[in-house]
Amino acid sequence: MRTIRSKWLRATALAIAMLTAVAAIQPTSALAAGSQVNLTGAGATFPYPIYSKWFDLYNKETGVQINYQSIGSGGGIQQVKAGTVDFGASDAPLNNQRLKEMPRAVIHFPTVAGAVVLAYNLPSVTAPLQLTPDVVAGIYMGKITMWNDKRIAASNAGVALPNMPIAAIHRSDGSGTSYIFTAYLSAVSAEWKELVGNNTSVSWPVGLGGKGNEGVSGLVRQAPGAIGYVELAYAKQNNFSVASIRNAAGKFIAPSIASTTAAANGAAAVLAKDVRTPIVNSPAPDAYPIAGLTFLLVNKEQRDQAKGKAIADFIAWAMTEGQKSAEALDYAPLPEAVVKVNQANLASLTFGGKPLVAKK
């Protein structure tokens, strides 16, 4: 040390060393010195707008820091699998096969319902476009390439469609939003089901990829002629034009909290049996056809008691306080039956084999 002649350099080196030492030897266990609990979660971008508000509110109320990184549902699933995060988030539920592949048992906790909307950038078109399932599938399969195609005009009488190529935007990362969207396309188009399928990451026949709901929104915003599928909250916050989609009952439904709630409530009975049941293409008359729940993925057996309790407390909060703020934040609250399922599942979380949360 004494060979560093300049006092300035020595001081800087010392400062860096001290800062690093202080940072590195911080107690990692939450039990030390009764300090607060910090949780790390990662996953879906679909609910990011509401999660970021929820975690901020929750932090102000309880001091618990929940650091959520929106890396996509696929990322949430993978990092839960790898054990690098305290919880994951995904709009694509794990099917039984995938659940078996998880090294530790995982429970799905749905948090809110959201709508996957088709946002488009056509400055000259002021009335909301009405799209049929065939048209949507056609656009994303590359069969409909121009905005003034007859098939689009067929359900939009009186609207002057521009002679512009359609830039279809999809997700480039593993996405629960893609999962919900492709579930819908597979339900309404046998050809799509055959050709592409339903998954978080598919081989898109045409179009550009954006990373996250944010990336897709960004691309739609930047490029006239673009159309992309994003969560309702993103579309609202960007003042995107969104399309009304014809649902299974034959009506053109605009995406909204009401129509999303209708889709969720319409499936309340089946959801109570298995929360992972898809709610796309709902037969309910006023339901928006491209809707889905989003889930928190939590390990049944928690390895850290304080962290496990913190997660359980947060989920309990989300089922009461959180649900109250859902509508204001552009998401649909869960049907009552699903909230009850969540509360029951909370009781099944364990630490060291024993229940984590005392039964109330």
Partner: protein, 307 residues
């Protein structure tokens, strides 16, 4: 009689030097073991497979290989003439002051983080390409399949342009050193024989050819591995691009996009196999470059300053 302290000290230093082996070994080890599953299941025809399909758990990396090659080669096509021209300017034509200023600018260019290039490409270059350049290209060259497509503004063309800007400083700095290193006598002799300034510069250039080639290959190495700037402007699809206006992806960008979320073991392994390929290719390319520069300067020079 060597003092003990001397041995100890030398041992310490040798140990430190040995750390590089350890690190390279660790990286290679991680890559090989990670890619093992994919190499066993798919093998090396992986590089020729055209379908990257996570749904069917079926992976072929050709779209990314083509994306990487296309963007790097187009970037070189743009950067090499500009780079050599600038090097000539700096070494032969510019006054001292002008040369210093331009060199300083090059240093700054090289110091800008790649993410900043990325956001510039996305927010500034893309709209320009979308509204002016690409429609012009479609209009005048659209008869060639290479120039057909939708003017997205992002895609192979944008990525290639950004890459070109990023690798030009490498070409300029090394080429300039090569030119400065070639003996004055070469130019003086050709001038004495009545050559124009251009002709004598060309003589110097051909003498510096191996070194300049080394610079170009080094720049290629950089372009192959560049991730962030490309990820932001290349459009991220898993299909083979058929035109420079198409979106695409490179080996580096697909890893950045899909790594944290690859859910099946084969998916992760396939991505690591791509990383392994990148690893191997950049080693070979860089080794080639350094050999050329080393040979061109008779062993005096290496590419330290430019990397």
């Amino acid at each position: 009689m060597k003092p003990r302290a001397d041995d100890l000290y030398r041992g310490l230093l040798t140990g430190a030097a040995g750390v590089v082996f350890f690190i390279v070994f660790l990286i290679a080890w991680e890559s090989v073991t990670g890619a093992a599953l994919s190499m066993k299941t798919i093998g090396w025809s992986f590089l020729l497979g055209t379908e990257w399909d996570p749904v069917m758990d079926h992976y072929g990396a050709l779209p990314y290989v083509i994306g990487t090659l296309a963007t790097s080669l187009i970037a070189l096509l743009i950067a090499v003439p500009l780079g050599i021209g600038s090097a000539v300017f700096l070494a032969e034509l510019a006054s001292r002051k002008m040369g210093e200023i331009v060199s300083f600018v090059m240093e700054l260019l090289a110091a800008i983080p790649s993410i900043v290039y990325g956001i510039w490409g996305f927010f500034v270059l893309a709209p320009v390409l979308r509204s002016a350049v690409e429609p012009w290209l479609i209009q005048h060259f659209g008869f060639l399949p290479l120039f057909r497509g939708i003017p997205f503004g992002i895609g192979i063309l944008n990525a290639s342009l950004i890459l070109a800007v990023m690798i030009v400083p490498t070409i300029v700095s090394i080429s300039r050193e090569m030119l400065l290193a070639s003996p004055r006598s070469l130019r003086e002799a050709s001038l004495a024989l009545g050559a124009t300034q251009t002709e004598s510069i060309l003589v110097a250039l051909s003498a510096a050819k191996p070194g300049i080639l080394g610079a170009v290959i080094l720049a290629l190495g950089r372009a192959l591995g560049e991730t962030m700037a490309v990820t932001m402007v290349i459009g991220n699809t898993n299909r083979i691009p058929h035109s420079i206006l198409d979106p695409g992806a490179t080996m580096a960008s697909v890893i950045a996009n899909e790594f944290t979320e690859a859910t099946s073991p084969l998916y992760i392994s396939a991505l690591i196999q791509i990383a392994l390929v990148l690893f191997a290719v950049t080693i070979v390319v860089n080794a080639l470059a350094r050999l050329l520069v080393y040979w061109a300067t008779g062993g005096r020079q290496d590419t330290a300053g430019a990397a």
